[in-house]
């Protein structure tokens, strides 16, 4: 079963909810190795998306929702997360195209495009202790599931679990990109807040898919 506009809107609502819920934790993580604004910035960004969901035109697609998130985050998130997530959602929207329903391979393609957008914008590689460390394992897991014929919900579940493991695995790493890189060795021992928020957003996508399947 494919995922449609209802899933996409639900994903955004769940994203706003989980970011708001983990706002303090993200701020704490970012305060340890960054400038401490990640939770606040991301919360503001997603809260700004919510009222705009009601203005979506009839017949909007998942791609339209992703594009709405992209432009809103770019305009409202003051830190690096704005352009990075904004680019991710924008590239994801382009991969989704005008499809009204996204199946397993389509979801995997959206995630791949999003990850590629983050890499292109931030120029970070795996192991640099950034959100890429959550996204790359997520994309690899999603691709593997999609290739074996899994449906969209299973693809997202695999992506979310891999992103969570990837975020956890950033803890011992020494940051080589972003504000945390100024700390050098001292950044080791702390989880990267961008990887953590990426995992939260992908978990929200998987939860929304489970809810959609239960309808």
């Amino acid at each position: 079963m494919g995922l449609d506009i209802t899933w996409a809107v639900d994903w955004v609502r769940r994203s706003a909810e989980t970011v708001a819920e983990h706002r303090t934790r993200l701020i704490a993580l970012d305060r340890e190795i960054g400038d401490g604004d990640h939770g606040e910035n991301l919360d503001r960004g997603f809260q700004a998306v919510l009222p705009k969901l009601d203005d979506l035109a009839a017949g909007s697609t998942p791609g339209d929702v992703l594009k709405l998130v992209a432009t809103t985050l770019i305009s409202t998130v003051g830190g690096a997360a704005g352009p990075l997530y904004g680019t991710a959602y924008l590239k994801g929207a382009m991969a989704a195209g005008s499809a009204t329903s996204l199946d397993g391979p389509a979801i995997a393609a959206v995630l791949t495009a999003a990850r590629d957008g983050i890499v292109a914008r931030g120029k970070a590689e795996s192991g640099d202790k950034t959100m890429v460390d959550a996204w790359t394992p997520a994309v690899e897991a999603a691709d593997a599931e999609a290739a074996s014929g899994a449906d969209a919900r299973t693809v997202l579940e695999a992506a979310a679990s891999a992103a969570e493991a990837g975020a956890e695995a950033t803890e011992p790493l020494v940051a080589r990109k972003g504000r945390a890189s100024y700390l050098g060795e001292r950044s080791a021992g702390h989880r990267d807040p961008g990887a953590e928020s990426s995992a939260l957003l992908l978990r929200a996508a998987a939860d929304a898919a489970v809810a959609a399947a239960g309808d």
Partner: protein, 230 residues
């Protein structure tokens, strides 16, 4: 030619406009600092608006401070029309030094690529450092032994600061030969300004190249003329 200063801090961006405007009063210098609601951060909308304001069709050079300022500026570029994007450059350079150097070049009427090069010349200082060690602190006498040298006195009220420094560097840059002011590369605006020479200071203008006589004479005459201030 227009310049855009993207900083996490509105005060830094505005202060830089103020500083650079001393040397580039007729150049479009636009501040894009802070977030839309005045917090520390960078704003896609502010940067986009600043680029539009700075763009008079001849090019825009964008200087950024920390990481996300560059990301925001790059994202703003992605959203420009292709025709506009072609004449906008983001320069990875120290925002203050690069910004001032770019402003002076823009004010002097340089084209887009020359302004970009001026901004980059302030990055890291490796180019300047190489030239400085070649000319060398305290190497004035050595220069004098090999090439032409003249000693003049600064007569203008503001000394070798801001506009006069820019004029001197601009003139020095028109000569192929190396030329120094008190042993410092006369083609490096930042190095000249860093000396902080004030009215009444004795200035030794020299070239290590025996063919540098015209350059030394031109700079000495500019200094003696008082840069139009007297």
């Amino acid at each position: 030619m227009g310049l855009v200063f993207v900083s996490h801090s509105a005060k830094i961006a505005e202060g830089l406009v103020e500083l650079a405007a001393q040397m580039a009063p007729e150049t479009a210098l636009i501040a894009a600092g802070g977030t839309d609601d005045g917090r520390i951060g960078t704003s896609f909308d502010r940067v986009s608006a600043a680029i539009a304001e700075a763009d008079a069709g001849h090019g825009v050079v964008v200087l950024c401070d920390l990481g996300s300022a560059i990301l925001t500026a790059e994202t703003a570029l992605d959203f420009l029309d292709d025709e506009v994007r072609e004449r906008v450059r983001i320069v990875d350079a120290p925002i203050v030094e690069g910004g001032v150097a770019a402003a002076v070049a823009a004010q002097a009427g340089d084209g887009l690529e020359a302004v970009v090069a001026a901004a980059r010349s302030a990055a890291g200082g490796d180019v300047d450092a190489g030239e400085a060690s070649a000319a060398g602190p305290g190497s004035t006498s050595a220069d004098g032994a090999n090439g032409p040298q003249r000693t003049v006195r600064l007569v203008n009220p503001s000394g070798l600061h801001a506009r006069p420094a820019a004029e001197l560097v601009k003139l020095a840059s028109t000569f192929a030969e190396p030329v120094t002011v008190n042993g410092t590369d006369a083609k490096s605006l930042l190095a000249i300004m860093a000396m902080g020479l004030t009215k009444g200071a004795e200035v030794v203008i020299a070239s290590a190249d025996p063919a540098g006589g015209a350059a030394v004479d031109a700079l000495a005459e500019l200094v003696e003329s008082g840069f139009g201030e007297v």
